[in-house]
């Protein structure tokens, strides 16, 4: 999933970003409210993770602004406040869930997964297209009896392709959605990634499922006549 993490303390922001990335998510980490607002205006996110105590603007207010601008993706609030009054305030402001610091990382990941199920994009913990299974928990791909482990980037690309098997994804779109904000992909990074993914899928016999549509982009094309090409 694409996540937006807003946390001002770098000592907390960095490990959370690493943890979420390890779980296969694409994480944009913003240190303050203004940056976050700028980001969600230009990109789509599947989940927002907000710290309550932010400089200038509180997480609650930020949540309200997010909702007021029409976004319906789920919001998770992290905070040091733990009274029930605070919980009510947070949930009433439009948040979907509430975690008290210090957060237990596995718990955070579980809740992120749970909230991800509410997302309109959710299609289950396991993506399946014509016999090719992508396991979202273990970041592995399976076809028949064989399983291969994917790197994060390869996994994300395959996930994107498998979620909308009919769609042709342009290079530009892939660059915007497969790299985190703050990291600039090189000009041929997409093609290199596609190449690597094909390499990775070859033991499964599915490497030709990644189809290059010249001039337009890439698309998932199931072998064995599963889908019309």
């Amino acid at each position: 999933m694409r996540l937006l993490l807003v946390e001002d303390d770098p000592a907390q922001r960095v490990p959370l970003q690493i943890a979420l990335r390890q779980a296969g998510h694409l994480v944009d980490a913003a240190p303050d409210a203004e940056t976050a607002e700028g980001l969600w205006q230009t990109k789509e996110y599947d989940l927002l993770i907000l710290d309550w105590m932010l400089p200038g603007c509180s997480g609650i207010q930020l949540c309200r602004q997010f909702r007021q601008s029409g976004h319906r993706s789920p919001v998770l609030i992290l905070t040091a406040k733990d009274t029930t009054a605070d919980t009510v305030t947070g949930l009433d402001a439009g948040a979907d869930d509430y975690l008290v610091k210090p957060v237990d990382v596995p718990e955070l990941l579980a809740r992120v997964r749970a909230l991800g199920r509410r997302s309109p994009q959710w299609l289950g913990d396991c993506l399946q297209v014509a016999g090719l299974e992508l396991d979202l928990m273990t970041l592995s791909a399976r076809y028949g009896a064989r399983t291969v482990l994917l790197s994060l980037q390869e996994f994300r690309l395959l996930e994107l392709l498998m979620r909308q098997p009919q769609r042709v994804f342009s290079r530009h779109y892939l660059e915007a959605n497969l790299w985190e904000w703050g990291s600039e992909p090189e000009s041929n990074a997409v093609s290199r990634l596609a190449y690597r993914l094909r390499q990775r899928l070859s033991p499964l016999g599915c490497s030709d499922w990644i189809e290059t549509v010249h001039g337009l982009g890439y698309r998932l094309r199931a072998g064995d006549g599963g889908l019309a090409g």
Partner: protein, 431 residues
């Protein structure tokens, strides 16, 4: 108790009065009986009718009895007793005389007396009877005198009791008024004391609550970094490059753990300093303020007086307080920080030439955990400084104009030379 005594006397007096009245009544009875005897005797003498004789005899008998009774009644009064005894003697003589008189009449049937003889006969015992009657009157008069005396005393007692009752009532009212006043004052004091306690309790609660919130953030950092580090080291790597990246990231997280733990230790230290200053646990000794400021002479511009400025102070805490203020000024300075010490009044001014403090922040500057921006210290430095200076009886204030920097002014109370030298002696005689 006096009241009980008093009641006893009162009742005794009442009994006396009643008793005296009784005596008077009996005396009156005696008088009447004597008169009756005399009248009946004379009536018989005149008419020779038997009923008169019987009446006379009855009266004579009663007379004796009444006299006996009266004697008993006045037994307690020796004077009256004696008088009554004499009177008794007279009464006996009178009755005897009357008897003789009657006897001298002879048998009823042979009665023959002329008016002249009758007149003579009637006049016979008059002297004695008159004397007796006079004595009786005297006796009654004495008794009446006693009665009046006792009644007067009763009246006096009564008036006394009235007076003392009024007095008691007055004292009682005063006492109650005084007690109520005292109670009221105590209640006021209690209320103000309990208000103070409540305020300081609330302060304590707020402080504990803020402190624990402040500690949560570094704790969260510790937990996340440690857990992520574990996760990275335990997760399977697809290739060598990924494994290397995992290791590097894990190292970074662990370094953050160490740095955060040290930072938390600093926070705990500051919290303890604040608690010490708030609890006013000071170890005072003669301290030269110039010495405390000279430490900064390479980093700030110092303006110090030539003579030493000594006060009784906790050197460690005061040094920390001044350091906190100077460090704060250094953080915001543009080119220099100026520190000035004046002896009279005893004051230290710390001025920086930075961008100044906005007026809405001035009010919160000395609050614990108040920070301008995040991540720069814990927001306790100035709070500690204020507590320490106030614990020493001094004051700290700040003034600032936008773009003209800020000036912190610390004033400390003067101390008499005697106090100082006494302090020095104590220090010299050793602890």
């Amino acid at each position: 108790m006096s009241f009980a005594n008093f009641q006893g006397w009162y009742r005794a007096d009442q009994r006396w009065v009643a008793h005296t009245l009784e005596v008077l009544l009996t005396t009156e009875q005696l008088n009447r009986q004597l008169l009756e005897a005399e009248v009946n005797a004379h009536s018989y003498g005149l008419t020779l009718e038997p009923p008169y004789l019987e009446a006379y005899q009855a009266a004579a008998r009663d007379l004796t009895m009444t006299q006996g009774r009266l004697l008993e009644q006045v037994r307690d009064n020796p004077e009256q007793y004696q008088r009554l005894q004499e009177l008794g003697y007279l009464l006996i003589q009178s009755v005897a005389q009357l008897d003789r008189q009657l006897l001298s009449l002879g048998p009823a049937e042979a009665y023959e007396m002329t008016a002249e003889e009758l007149f003579v006969w009637l006049a016979q015992p008059t002297e004695l009877l008159r004397l007796t009657r006079d004595r009786l009157q005297e006796f009654a008069a004495f008794e009446a005198g006693y009665l009046r005396e006792r009644q007067a005393r009763l009246q006096e007692r009564y008036r006394w009791s009235e007076l003392s009752l009024y007095l008691l009532a007055g004292i009682g009212a005063l006492a109650i008024g005084g007690a109520m006043g005292l109670f009221y004052r105590q209640e006021q004091e209690l209320r103000s004391r309990s208000q103070q306690l409540q305020q300081s309790n609330e302060q304590l609660w707020r402080f504990a609550s803020n402190a624990s919130h402040e500690l949560r953030a570094p704790l969260a950092a510790l937990l996340s970094n440690a857990q992520v580090s574990l996760m990275l080291l335990q997760s399977p790597a697809v290739d060598e490059e990924m494994a290397k990246r995992h290791r590097e990231e894990s190292l970074t997280c662990l370094e953050t753990v160490v740095a955060t733990a040290k930072r938390m230790s600093g926070l705990v230290h500051d919290l303890l300093q604040l608690a010490r200053a708030q609890g006013k646990l000071l170890n005072r000794s003669p301290t030269d303020l110039i010495g405390l400021l000279r430490i900064w002479q390479n980093e700030v511009t110092l303006q110090l007086p030539p003579e030493p400025a000594c006060i009784q102070a906790d050197a460690g805490l005061l040094q920390q307080a001044l350091d906190n203020i100077i460090r704060n000024a250094q953080r915001y300075k543009r080119s220099e920080v100026k520190v000035t010490l004046t002896r009279d009044p005893l004051a230290i001014e710390i001025a920086d030439d930075g961008c100044g403090i906005p007026p809405e922040q001035l009010a919160y500057l000395f609050e614990p955990f108040y920070r301008v921006g995040s991540g720069e210290g814990f927001g306790l430095g100035l709070a500690i400084a204020q507590q320490v200076i106030e614990a020493h009886g001094g004051q700290i204030s700040v003034s600032s104009c936008p773009n003209q920097g800020a000036v912190f002014r610390v004033t400390l109370p003067h101390q008499k030379e005697r106090q100082l030298s006494a302090g020095k002696e104590l220090a010299q005689t050793g602890h």
